[in-house]
Symmetry: C2
Subunit: 299 residues, 2 copies
């Protein structure tokens, strides 16, 4: 337990039971009270169906904050009509248990009808970053993500919000938005948490059939290939991308969406790796689309 | 002096001299300190060249807040390339004097290069409200307004922000945005302040030639005609609009942009007035475009 918590907890009398808050105005009023008491608010926004990746975000938030808020909201505006909004996996009882284990103080668990009220018409657009990579396959996705994060940040009023590196482009879009709009918080991006065989944790892994699940490790393997080539001195992005793609395409159930080596901040496609770059992959297994990434360091 | 100020002022030791802050991060850090002290921040965002309308906003902010922040920023993103960004009137010395007279604590006076940093790409879009009225003539204007207000709200962290009713559609757009994005502040809209002959105060009135200035009172007169007709029982919007338009068009220097009777919240054009409605006018005098409005109450 860090000092902030030792100092703060008796003061605000957080109950041993975690509190679930459904109403946005109630959550905002509570956040204002926490801030007026000088408490540091750490925030982990999620769509629920928590896995060890989310748990690691909660754990770090717990270490760095006086009050930890987890939001669980399957945000409709970041799904396209043809996507998996309705079948997105949910398990609130299990989520509550994990949240409690990680020392969460509040779960903000709103209904879509209170988040998107009648006459709703305001969206936050990051204009360039979402055009490439996942944004090409999901053209309205990041508008939904930027908008809901803006709303959640305004409701929860966190000092820090915690995201996983697995969703690299999402983190880049949010960091850009926070900088551009002078939002009053810090974005923390924490390392991807993986299954034993290297597959990045994702709520969507549950969609995979057994054979797909086995082959899905090829995303991680392709990133290892990239790291290895860079370690051995390869700087030509095209050659690395080709090797990664060959590996993924050797798996019969895998269909490549993209394989890319890009600037870590702008996500502009790179020809030559000098200094840092990020390798990003997106691969379909049936209708399930998986992503992963790795930062590469040349020289 | 209200109680909040009596209580708060000795505590934060606001100097008799007002402070001018140019750096957004410095302003935000200061706003965070004010909030941590439990002080209520009142905010008046302007493009400078202050007139009695702005002064009345500052006066009300002073009454309702512990700390009053005025921003002066001629925001480039709300001007189209063909508009008056470069010739927009400025007079910082006079603005400082007025601000000081009204008890302003801080002027936030940023440079465009610190508000729109390299790689800037994030915009807030209210999608429907800006399509009609002024938005038809100025299609990118409200995107710029919504974006800069979001930025300013995030930097100044006000409890309340004060706007004039003269810019009716602007206030409607901002209220919608604040509601939709759950922004943590209250929007206060104060009555339009007028010249002796009824012309709404506007920084742009300085553009008017003497003969145009005389005829410009026709905006206000047309609104009086509307009020009068409603008072006498007229409910058909088209008849009222026609009478207003006739009056404005009787002035040789006036060119109507729009005359409208609309829903007070959605700004949808009305056929019949039942309950409240808003009459809105926009009129060109040469290149100068003036606006005015009046809320009508039927029955």
């Amino acid at each position: 337990m860090n000092k902030a918590i030792e100092r703060a907890r008796p003061e605000i009398k957080i109950k041993p039971e975690m509190k679930i808050i459904r109403n946005p105005d109630e959550m905002q009023a509570l956040a204002n009270r926490l801030r007026e008491k000088g408490l540091v608010i750490g925030f982990v926004p999620t769509m629920g169906y928590l896995h060890e990746g989310h748990a690691s975000l909660l754990r770090t938030a717990r270490q760095q904050s006086d009050a930890v808020v987890l939001s669980i909201f399957v945000n409709p505006t970041q799904f396209a009509p043809n996507e998996d909004l309705d079948k997105y996996p949910r398990d609130m009882k299990r989520d509550e248990k994990i949240a409690r284990q990680e020392g969460t103080d509040y779960i903000f668990y709103p209904e879509a009808s209170t988040m998107y009220v009648p006459g709703y018409q305001t969206y936050v657009n990051v204009e360039e970053l979402p055009r490439s990579h996942c944004g090409r396959t999901r053209p309205t996705h990041f508008r939904g993500v930027a908008t809901v994060c803006t709303k959640l940040f305004n409701i929860v009023l966190p000092h820090r919000a915690f995201f996983g590196q697995k969703d690299y482009q999402q983190a880049a879009v949010i960091k850009r938005m926070v900088k551009d709009l002078n939002m009053n918080l810090e974005i923390m991006v924490l390392p991807t948490v993986r299954e034993a065989d290297g597959l990045a944790m994702s709520s969507r892994n549950v969609y995979l059939q057994p054979e797909e699940r086995k082959q899905a490790v090829c995303l991680r393997e392709s990133l290892e290939i990239a790291k290895d080539m860079v370690r051995k001195g390869e700087t030509e992005a095209q050659k690395i991308v080709a090797a990664m793609r060959r590996h993924i395409e050797s798996k019969p159930k895998a269909r490549v969406d993209y394989v890319s080596i890009a600037d870590t901040e702008t996500l502009a496609e790179l020809e030559t790796i000098t200094g840092e770059a990020v390798a990003l992959v997106a691969v379909y297994f049936g209708k399930t689309r998986l992503i992963d990434n790795e930062v590469l360091k040349a020289g």
